[in-house]
């Protein structure tokens, strides 16, 4: 597999090098993707954002992207190549690109970098992420109401705070509407591996789960749910609307377009500054996909009410009293979690079983 990625990197580098050096006044924006643009999930939505940037600025902006870039040394090579090739702004769209981005940014002080879902910044590196956990709260509510077996399967990707936050948020809200609910969590250690995701979904279904939540990027778990019949799931990162007639009852949609357009504009105007953006349902960075008719009207109304109260800022998904898994107090009655704790969340809340792989 190493060979393959090397080749891909080489091909990508060639493709970039081959792009004719256009007139210098064009702003060049690069995107580095962890999966293929056709994954139907995470990378697909980032690419939609890229297309929106092209549509917004037309001929004034040129965009380039490289897909299937593994997290690690290969990423550093690809990002370096993009910077060498004259990109003015580079979006690196996976958590594992954090250190490569910081390393490359140090070498190219004039290029602006934007790293998704990370926490390390520099004078020319911004970070941005979405408060997916707000969407998970809505998802958890629907899941808790819809499950008949009271077993909800959760496919975890890589054990980082973002994923743990999602599990906690979904669990808290599922438990709120259904005290008997139980979460079964399987880690697949990859963001994108359809065969493994499908296996994980099948195993969870075999062990009694009738709702599958996923934090992986492909539609394979939905395909597995469709095959099993009486199981529902949710679109992850993208609407995954092709499963609307089947298991998909709603989805969490990442909407990066407004942010990408704003940041590109800032580079063009020369007003770009290193920032730390973390937006949720309110500003529209996290969207909730249409809730289908499989969900009873009152549950749908409940979910939408929750969505509205989160959007307005009236309700925070992590509002006390909440205890940690070990029984110690985390949030007192009415207290809400601060962003620092959320950003580094490495513990389960009370009631979840199992341990977070360290």
């Amino acid at each position: 597999m190493k060979k393959r990625t090397l080749l891909k990197g080489a091909v990508a580098a060639l493709a970039l090098a081959a792009t004719p050096a256009m007139a210098q006044d064009k702003t060049k924006v690069g995107f580095v993707y962890v999966g293929p643009v056709g994954d139907g999930g995470w990378t697909y939505e980032h690419d939609q954002g890229r297309k929106a940037v092209e549509a917004e600025f037309g001929g004034a902006v040129e965009t380039v992207y490289v897909e299937n870039v593994p997290e690690g040394p290969d990423a550093e090579r690809v990002i370096t190549q993009m910077a060498l090739d004259g990109a003015d702004l580079i979006f690196t769209t996976s958590f594992g690109y954090m250190d490569p981005t910081i390393n490359v940014a140090a070498k190219f002080p004039d290029v602006k970098f934007e790293h998704a879902t990370g926490y390390k910044t520099a004078p020319n590196v911004s970070v941005y992420s979405a408060r997916f956990y707000e969407g998970r709260a809505v998802q958890g509510t629907i899941a808790g109401r819809m499950t008949e077996s009271n077993v909800i399967g959760y496919i975890g990707s890589v054990p980082i705070p973002e994923v743990v936050r999602g599990i906690n948020s979904a669990y808290i809200h599922a438990k709120k509407v259904n005290p008997d609910v139980q979460f079964k969590i399987v880690w697949v250690y990859e963001w994108f591996n359809p065969a493994k995701e499908a296996d994980a979904a099948k195993v969870l279904i075999e062990q009694g789960a009738d709702v599958i939540l996923q934090h992986t990027d492909s539609t394979a778990p939905l395909a597995a749910a469709a095959e099993a019949g009486n199981v529902i799931g949710f679109g992850q990162a993208s609407d995954m609307a092709e499963y609307k007639d089947g298991p998909r009852v709603s989805s969490i949609i990442d909407n990066w377009a407004p942010y990408y357009i704003a940041r590109t504009k800032a580079v063009m105007d020369g007003t770009w500054e290193s920032t730390n953006t973390w937006d949720g349902i309110g500003p529209g960075m996290v969207g909730i996909g249409e809730i289908t008719d499989k969900v009873p009207a009152e549950v749908k109304a409940e979910a939408e009410a929750l969505q509205a109260s989160i959007a307005s800022g009236e309700y925070h998904p992590f509002t006390g009293p909440i205890k940690k898994q070990d029984g110690s107090d985390w949030l007192a009655e009415g207290e809400t979690a601060d962003d620092g704790t959320l950003a580094g969340m490495n513990f389960y809340v009370e009631g979840l079983e199992g341990e977070i792989p360290q």
């Binding site: 080749l7 293929p36 359809p194 296996d199 195993v203 075999e206 792989p357």
Partner: protein, 310 residues
Amino acid sequence: MDLSSINWLLLLASLMVAATPILLAGIGELVVEKAGVLNLGVEGMMITGAIAGFAMAVESGSPALGFVGAAAAGALLSMLFAVLTQFALANQVASGLALTLFGLGLSSLMGQSYVGLKPPSTPKLDIPLLSDIPVLGPVLFNHDLMVYVAIAIVAGTWAFLKYTRAGLTLRAVGENHEAAHALGYKVIAIRCAAIAFGGACAGLGGAYLSLVRVPQWTEGMTSGAGWIALALVVFASWRPWRVMIGAYLFGGITVLQLNLQAAGLKVPVEYLSMSPYIITIIVLVIMSSGRSRGALGAPASLGRTFHATG
């Protein structure tokens, strides 16, 4: 931990499904290696079979045609390897690796317009009486046809190599191609046939992934299955039934580790995730220790270039 939440019958049944792709690819590679050729391009042929089978099934609406197309595509791609190694006398290891790279690239090109589509479903055979047997029925006799085709190919390969004259010739070519050539056997033709068979089997294995196991097309979806199939052949010391044991062992542990995770086993998840690979390595080490290398059964001419002189 709550082991009772694991449905052992379903686990055994899904083990057979999880093992089928590597079983098909592995048995094909076994025949290739028995003929004295080392084709490291299994991964590339598998993924090409996966997209070719998927495309064929989607366009025609028939999974059966999909599998036929996958086998044809795998065999066709393997002919590239055959031309390079048998006629141009290129290095087999390098050619095989190149075939894998080529197959991965070719498949993502071919697959551009097939992302997000759903293939026609492959029906499960409900064998009337057999599938009603308690316990054994649902485990053994309630699968799609390909699971049994894979087993039939293993049985056929075993019988072919052991009992037929053609099988003996093929083995002779793999053991000592100079001697086989001196006896008047067409070494190159036999090897090309073996390579085509290996390609067809790898293609079938790939199509099983995209049409049954996942079932959808995504780039790079074989994610290393071809390499596991290659290891299986060594693991099996070049014996057909052992390939099957190895495939079921690997498939079984893969499924079991996910089951154990979901059941909340108190073992760090990292160990569970690596367990299929660890156990495969351990078994390999045990099987290859304490005996002479010859007893392992590697064909003597494996990987050596044949050039007919005189």
